[in-house]
Structure formats: structure tokens, C-alpha cells
């Protein structure tokens, strides 16, 4: 039986990363649940075995059900009837399989009905699901929103909503409006507090993924007369109460199975989450960080399927009397695809491990005071997560678009036809560098970690690690890349102009990205020789890209900036 987890040994490599022991120890509070819940792990080995077995279920459902339904879902799509969404039949079957398999609310604590998985194995499931059908990953992955309820809602709300998510109810995050996309400070949906202290919502939301979900998180303006982010609060809208209808579903280029809805709120009853005015500045920021990691996983899954489809076709397709994979031009494309895929995955799980550690400490801090050392550690990992999340989302979404493009290129004319999966993958991939913050916005989030040295400090500490003798040359290249990065940062910040930094930001972030990803692959190769090819190919590729950016920056005069400014 095909299995998308067991046929992908890289996943197990990350599942057994040395940092996992600490992550699981923190998440499981020293395995305190073992006596309380019949499905809680007894120790680290037992926990890993459980993650492995559950991911095997995910892999099986993805291979046998979700990937098989992907094409039908892409054709059929969802539709609106009487103001509500009817999913494509394949989507319904996929959701049913995930519910029956108990794959909803995976990261939620057991007392609320979840599996209490760390973020890392949960993100692995997202990676696997995306390979099967990226559009479906959206619906399934919105279980992430439960995390926001868990972190910020009161106990009563947690008890009310999280078990429902774990039992399979779907979620959505209703943020975007016609005039508030990247700029969420402009959100206008109105929240009105009634005399009895309850709230109602009125207005319109647009581009809402899975907008007819069971439980919505809604960003709305609670402070009348306010105009910026400080007037926004977060609410829960429960579909059971009624008050929200779907006006239309967008006709999209890709991820067609995932309904993107325009919603009309008419006196929709809602519950306030956490404190007023904290909606955007605190809760949405947390929500978005989780969602960005999810899109990074989606991108990796799409890169995986792109590479596999291309590889298979290149082996089967014969021209000039031999399989096209034997031509250097084709095998270079394939090698680069695999290197970008592996590098994206290395960054994804490095990032998920950082998130795991700081989130576990945040959660422990609700039960007891953290020690000074713990606080320090939590802060360091929180900073790393903050730096690595936009890098992972930005780099891997761009790579998955490149891989989807190359996948079609390998297929030649056939790839342009609707006969192969690659054209759907190509359309599905396009959104990853746009939603949950465009690549340009990821650069905005990442650049301060370039200029303040978060990446460079991490890079320098990685360079101090031992590697195998045969990888010394690659390590030397990475060292050189890091020096070019440091020099470029100095050259750009030395101009003392925010505009100048903004202009070169993408170049600098990419230089950091190539160096970071190369070092992560070096670490993977030290643990597992299977990564060596990707390491060598990726660093070769990254070296050239870094040199290109370094060259652009060092040959750029500040007065040339005017050439780029549009009137």
C-alpha cells in the first residue's frame, strides 16, 4: 500500500532530530499525562513511536484517499447554496477520513480532546497532506486557529470550542476585507457591544479561506471612531448561531477545492477573545506566525510533488533514443529541484523546532513561574522563531513556485496540457508566495534580523560545529557566503537610509536564506550521508546567487536608487 510518509525518509530524519528529545520532554511535562490518559506516551521513545505511527496513518490517507481525490476536487470545486458552502464530493470524503482518523486538533492538549503533538510532527502532517492536495491542506490546516483560542481565550471558551475542533469541526480566520488586505489596520467590520455585554458583528469580509467554517476567528473594529490597529479586537463567531452568509466563492487560478469566500455579517452574535484592542497587535500576529509556518509546510509539500512528478516523467519519457533524464540539461534541473526541496524542508523543521521550544515554555509559564534560565532560553528561541518563520515562508514558497515551473518544463508540451498533475500543482503553488503575507512582506519581517544580526549570530555558531572531513570544502564555501553577507549588510546599513535598506532588503534576506539553508543541510549531512548530494548542489546554487547579490550591492551607487522610483 502506498504511503506518503514511509516513502519519504527525510521526514523521519527530522522527526528524530536530537533537539526533539527536549521538545517532547517540555511538551509532555516530563510525561505527566501517562497515568491520566490511555493514549499518552510513557517516555521519549514511546512518544516518537506514537508520532511515527500517527504519521503513517496520515501518509496512508494521503496516498490512498486525498491524492486520489485531488484531480476531481480541482474540477468539481465547492459551490454556494442558500448562503452556505457545499464542498466538492472529494473534499467531503477527505474531511471524513481525517475526522475518522482523529487528525484534527493534533497539537491541542489532551484535556481538550487533542493529541498534544508538538508543532514539528503536526507540521510534518501538513507537509504530507500538501503533497497530496495543497488545497485540501488549507481546510485541514486551519485547525491551527484552535491554537489562538488556546493561547488567548478564557477557559470557558477553550472548553466550549477546542473539543469541537478536535472532533472535526473546521475553522477559518476572517481577517481580510475589500480595503484591508496586507494592511489589516484598515479593517472596518463593525463589532457592537450590546447592553447585556454580548457582541454582534456587521459588515463584509473578503477572500476568506473556508469562510463557511464551523468556528470563525474574526478581526473586527470594536472601538467606534478608531482608525488604526489599536481599535481592533478578536472575536469568535459560531456558525450554529447564524448571522453570516456566503455571498460568493471566488473563481481562482489554483487551490480550487478550498473555498475562498465573501462573507456578509448581519448582526452575527460573537464572543470577544482576550482583551479589547489586542486583536491585531497581539492575537493576529500570533495567528499569522502559525499560519506562515503552515504555508511554509504547504510549499514544501508542493515542492515534493513537483520533484516526484518531474523525476518520474524524466525517467519514462524517451527522446533521441534514451530517457530524457540522461541529458545533462534535464538532470541539472532535477538536481536543483531536489536541492531546493531538501533545503526548504531543512529550514521548515529548524523553524518548527524553535517554535516548539518557545511555545512549550509559554504554556508552562501558565502553570508556574519559569526559572531565569528557562526565561532566557524561551526568549532566545522566540527570537529565532521570529526570524526563521518569515525566512521559511518566503524562501520555500518561492522555491516551490520555481519547482512547479521546472516540473512543467521537464514535461515539455505534455506539461502544458491538462493531462498531467503538474499543471494543477503549478496553479496551486502560485498562491503560496502571496497569501499569509506576500514574499515582500516576509522580507519586511525578516530584514531586521539581517540588520540586527540574528541570522549572522546563528550562522557563526553553526560554523563552529564540527562536520565530516569530506564536507570541509562545502563548509568553507558557506563561510565565504556568510562573509559576503556580513559585508553586504555593512555596505547597505552604512548608508544610514531606511529607504536604501528597504531597496536591498530582499537581496540581503535571500543571501541570509541561502547561507542558513546551506548550513542546515550541512548539519543534516553530518547526521545522515543521504543529504550530501542536496547539500553540495544547493550550496553550489546558493553560492552563485549570493555572489550575484553581493555583486549587485557592491556595484550599486546610492544615486542609482532614483532610477527605480516610479512616479
Amino acid at each position: 500500500m502506498a504511503n506518503f510518509y514511509t516513502d519519504n525518509p527525510e521526514l523521519k530524519h527530522y522527526l528524530t532530530h536530537p533537539m526533539m528529545e527536549k521538545i517532547v520532554e517540555l511538551k509532555e511535562r516530563g510525561y505527566a499525562d501517562a497515568g491520566k490518559y490511555d493514549y499518552a506516551p510513557l517516555d521519549y521513545a514511546d512518544a516518537l513511536d506514537s508520532y511515527d505511527k500517527v504519521l503513517e496513518i496520515v501518509g496512508e490517507i494521503c496516498a490512498e484517499t486525498i491524492s486520489q481525490n485531488a484531480e476531481g476536487v480541482d474540477h468539481e470545486g465547492p459551490r454556494v447554496e442558500n448562503g452556505h458552502v457545499i464542498y466538492a464530493s472529494g473534499t467531503q470524503a477527505n474531511l471524513e477520513a481525517c475526522r475518522k482518523a482523529g487528525l484534527m486538533g493534533m497539537a491541542m492538549p489532551r484535556r481538550l480532546g487533542g493529541l498534544n503533538f508538538p508543532i514539528t510532527p503536526y507540521i510534518m502532517a501538513a507537509d504530507i497532506v500538501s503533497r497530496a492536495d495543497a488545497g485540501f491542506e488549507n481546510l485541514w490546516g486551519l485547525q491551527d486557529c484552535a491554537e489562538t483560542i488556546y493561547e488567548f481565550a478564557d477557559e470557558e471558551q477553550k472548553q466550549k470550542y477546542i473539543p469541537r475542533v478536535c472532533a472535526g469541526e473546521t475553522m477559518s480566520m476572517d481577517l481580510t476585507e475589500p480595503d484591508a488586505g496586507s494592511d489589516l489596520q484598515s479593517v472596518m467590520l463593525k463589532a457592537t457591544e450590546k447592553e447585556d455585554g454580548t457582541w454582534v458583528l456587521n459588515g463584509v469580509k473578503r477572500f476568506i479561506t473556508n469562510g463557511d467554517s464551523d468556528i470563525h476567528l474574526v478581526l473586527a473594529r470594536s472601538e467606534e471612531g478608531s482608525h488604526d490597529g489599536r481599535g481592533l479586537s478578536m472575536f469568535i463567531y459560531d456558525k450554529r448561531n447564524g448571522g453570516v452568509t456566503v455571498r460568493r466563492i471566488e473563481n481562482k487560478m489554483g487551490i480550487k477545492g478550498s473555498p475562498t469566500c465573501e462573507l456578509v455579517f448581519r448582526n452575527a452574535p460573537a464572543e470577544l477573545v482576550g482583551s479589547r484592542r489586542m486583536g491585531l497587535i497581539k492575537y493576529v500576529m500570533a495567528l499569522m506566525n502559525g499560519a506562515r509556518l503552515g504555508i511554509a509546510a504547504q510549499s514544501v509539500g508542493l515542492s515534493e510533488i513537483s520533484y516526484r512528478e518531474a523525476l518520474q516523467y524524466a525517467k519514462e519519457r524517451k527522446q533521441f533514443g534514451k530517457a530524457i533524464i540522461e541529458f545533462p540539461a534535464v538532470c541539472e534541473i532535477l538536481s536543483n529541484m531536489k536541492a531546493k526541496l531538501d533545503a526548504s524542508r531543512a529550514l521548515l523543521y529548524a523553524c518548527s523546532r524553535f517554535v516548539d521550544i518557545y511555545k512549550a515554555y509559554d504554556d508552562i509559564a501558565k502553570e508556574r513561574k519559569l526559572t531565569v534560565d528557562e526565561k532566557k532560553e524561551a526568549k532566545a528561541f522566540s527570537r529565532l522563531a521570529d526570524a526563521f518563520t518569515p525566512l521559511a515562508k518566503g524562501m520555500s514558497s518561492e522555491f516551490c513556485n520555481q519547482n512547479a515551473y521546472d516540473c512543467i518544463q521537464i514535461h515539455g508540451g505534455s506539461g502544458f496540457m491538462k493531462d498531467y498533475a503538474c499543471e494543477r500543482v503549478y496553479r496551486d503553488a502560485r498562491i503560496t508566495s502571496i497569501y499569509e503575507g506576500t514574499t515582500q512582506l516576509q522580507v519586511v519581517a525578516a530584514i531586521r534580523h539581517v540588520t540586527t544580526g540574528t541570522y549572522l549570530n546563528w550562522i557563526n555558531s553553526e560554523l563552529e560545529k564540527e562536520c565530516k572531513p569530506e564536507d570541509q570544502d562545502v563548509k568553507a564555501t558557506l563561510q565565504f557566503m556568510s562573509q559576503q553577507l556580513a559585508a553586504a549588510v555593512e555596505a547597505v546599513t552604512g548608508q544610514d537610509s531606511t529607504e536604501y535598506v528597504d531597496f536591498h532588503a530582499r537581496r540581503l534576506v535571500e543571501m541570509a536564506g541561502y547561507t542558513v539553508m546551506g548550513l542546515l543541510l550541512l548539519d543534516d549531512t553530518t547526521r545522515n550521508d543521504a543529504f550530501r548530494r542536496s547539500l553540495r548542489v544547493f550550496v553550489k546554487y546558493g553560492q552563485a546567487e549570493v555572489a550575484k547579490h553581493a555583486d549587485f550591492i557592491s556595484n550599486f551607487r546610492p544615486d542609482q536608487l532614483a532610477d527605480y522610483m516610479q512616479k
Binding site: 493514549y39 505511527k53 496513518i57 482518523a101 482523529g102 493529541l115
Partner: protein, 289 residues
């Protein structure tokens, strides 16, 4: 109202992926070369049982299998999907059983379980393809049987309503409980393993599997749900003359690779005279007898 359901299941070699070493020289199956799996139609039967459990809370689903101790693997598979427990009927005396001896052994185990409303099983196992065991168990227990079931619509007030697949379509029948129902491969596929159940039951075992694993034994002693029953011929009071090779009138004469060459079909009317003619013909050319 809740039900007690026994699902008869078999661990079989995966004959769907047969390689060239699938048969031994002597014509028997080379079990080592084929992965052991949950017989596919038994999974369809399990799904029907689990749907009844969803519908009638408190329903208990027990899987009964005959085989070596490692057949406990399919009971764990069943528990991952929602079965409550299982029993492995395991004894050297059962080895070499044909369908008659198998159904005898299963029937004795069912008698020992005693309290049940329904016995479900797949139509047939992919290693033998006889479709005889279910009906024979029903006969031995003097229970009514429904074969080729596609859906058990309900099971209440002493009767089960069953949709069965017949040659020209489907029919709905009503059967008094307790009854034996064999489920067709066209029925709903079995649900996936459940993440929570997998974590809960992964250490479940029959005593002999855990014999050299102290940690597992300790867990099994603390958690009764991890104990899968392991019964032998003595524990079900089986008459050894009716078990295994001794109780099996079927003798394998030789095995040959049959290639279908006939292209024409012949219609035999459902009359005693026509069937008699066909029987004589088959005996004459040694197809039977």
C-alpha cells in the same frame, strides 16, 4: 440498545502482490514471501460492525481469528479502527485445517464467547477464496445466515435488516438475531486507523507475544485493555478429531497452474435433471470427485 458483535477475521498472505517465489515447490503458499495482511473483505465486515457501534452506543465489537500468535496483529489493526478487543484461537492442533475444521474451531470459540447478537465476517478470504467458513459456522451454530451483505441497515428489536448484493441487483432482507452475516467486498471500505486508538492499543498483545518482554507484561498487567485473548483447543473444549488436519476431509492432490482457454459459455437451467447431467460430466472429467 447496544449489541455484542463478533467479527471473524483472518490474517492472510497478500495474494494481490504475488511474486515468482509465492509458491513453494510442493505447491503450498510460501507465507514468508508474502506480507501478512487483514483479509480485505473482513475489513469490510469490520466496518459494518463499527457502523453499528456508532449507531448503537455501548455496542461491543470483538474480533475472533484463528492462526498463530502473530495473527494478533490483525486484532490490533482492528482495535486501531475501533474494535474493542479480540481473541486469537491458536493451537498446533488447529494447523492444516480446511474450511470444515476451521468453521468447527471458530464455532467452538463462538460458543465459549456465548453472548452475541451478530457474527460478521468477510465473504471469503483471498488465500482460499472458498466463501465456505461463514456459512459453515452458521450451520454449526444453527443460526440463520445472510451472505453477500453490502450494508447492515439496522439491527434492532431482535432483527437485522440487511442489503445484499445479488447477481442482478440488490435485495433487502430481514433476519432474526443472533445471525451470521458475511459481507461482500462491494460494501463500504473500512475506516482508517484512528490516531488516538493507535496510541492506546499499540502495546496490546496476546500473552505469548509478550513472553520475553517484561516492560510489555507490566503494562498489560496495569491496563486490561491491552490484553488480547489467546485460546487453545482445550480452552474451547474442542474435539481434537474435528480439528486441524485430522478434522479436514479436504486433501490436496496436486496444484497446477490453470490457464483459461474456453471462450464459450453454456447455460445450465436450475433443474435437478440439468444439474445431474453437469455433475456427471464434471465427475467424468475429474474436475470433482
Amino acid at each position: 440498545m447496544s449489541l455484542n458483535i463478533i467479527v471473524m477475521a483472518k490474517q492472510v498472505p497478500d495474494t494481490r502482490n504475488v511474486g515468482k517465489d509465492a509458491m513453494k515447490e510442493d505447491g503450498t503458499i510460501n507465507r514468508a514471501a508474502l506480507p501478512a495482511i487483514f483479509n480485505p473483505e473482513d475489513l469490510n465486515a469490520l466496518e459494518q460492525a463499527l457502523r453499528l457501534k456508532d449507531k448503537y452506543p455501548g455496542t461491543k465489537v470483538t474480533i475472533l481469528t484463528m492462526g498463530p500468535a502473530r495473527a494478533a496483529e490483525i486484532i490490533r489493526e482492528g482495535m486501531y479502527r475501533g474494535a474493542d478487543n479480540g481473541i486469537v484461537l491458536s493451537d498446533r492442533a488447529f494447523a492444516g485445517a480446511d474450511t470444515l475444521a476451521t468453521s468447527y474451531a471458530l464455532a467452538t470459540a463462538v460458543k465459549k464467547i456465548g453472548d452475541f447478537d451478530l457474527i460478521l465476517g468477510g465473504r471469503q478470504a483471498i488465500d482460499g477464496d472458498t466463501a465456505q467458513v461463514g456459512p459453515q459456522v452458521a450451520e454449526k451454530l444453527a443460526l440463520p445466515q445472510v451472505t453477500y451483505a453490502e450494508e447492515i441497515i439496522d439491527a434492532e428489536n431482535g432483527h437485522a435488516t440487511v442489503l445484499r448484493r445479488i447477481e442482478s441487483g440488490v435485495e433487502t432482507v430481514k433476519v432474526p438475531m443472533p445471525a451470521v452475516i458475511t459481507v461482500n467486498g462491494s460494501a463500504a471500505p473500512c475506516r482508517p486507523r484512528n490516531a488516538r486508538n493507535v496510541q492506546k492499543y499499540k502495546y496490546a498483545a496476546v500473552p505469548s507475544e509478550a513472553a520475553s518482554d517484561e516492560r510489555r507484561q507490566k503494562l498489560m498487567a496495569e491496563r486490561e485493555w491491552l490484553n488480547i485473548g489467546e485460546w487453545n483447543a482445550a480452552s474451547v473444549d474442542a474435539d481434537l478429531n474435528q480439528c486441524g488436519l485430522a478434522g479436514s476431509p479436504t486433501k490436496v492432490k496436486h496444484i497446477e497452474n490453470v490457464v483459461f482457454t474456453a471462450k464459450d459459455a453454456r447455460r445450465v437451467e436450475n433443474t435437478d435433471a440439468d444439474i445431474e447431467v453437469l455433475m456427471q460430466e464434471l465427475i467424468a472429467n475429474h474436475t470433482i470427485g
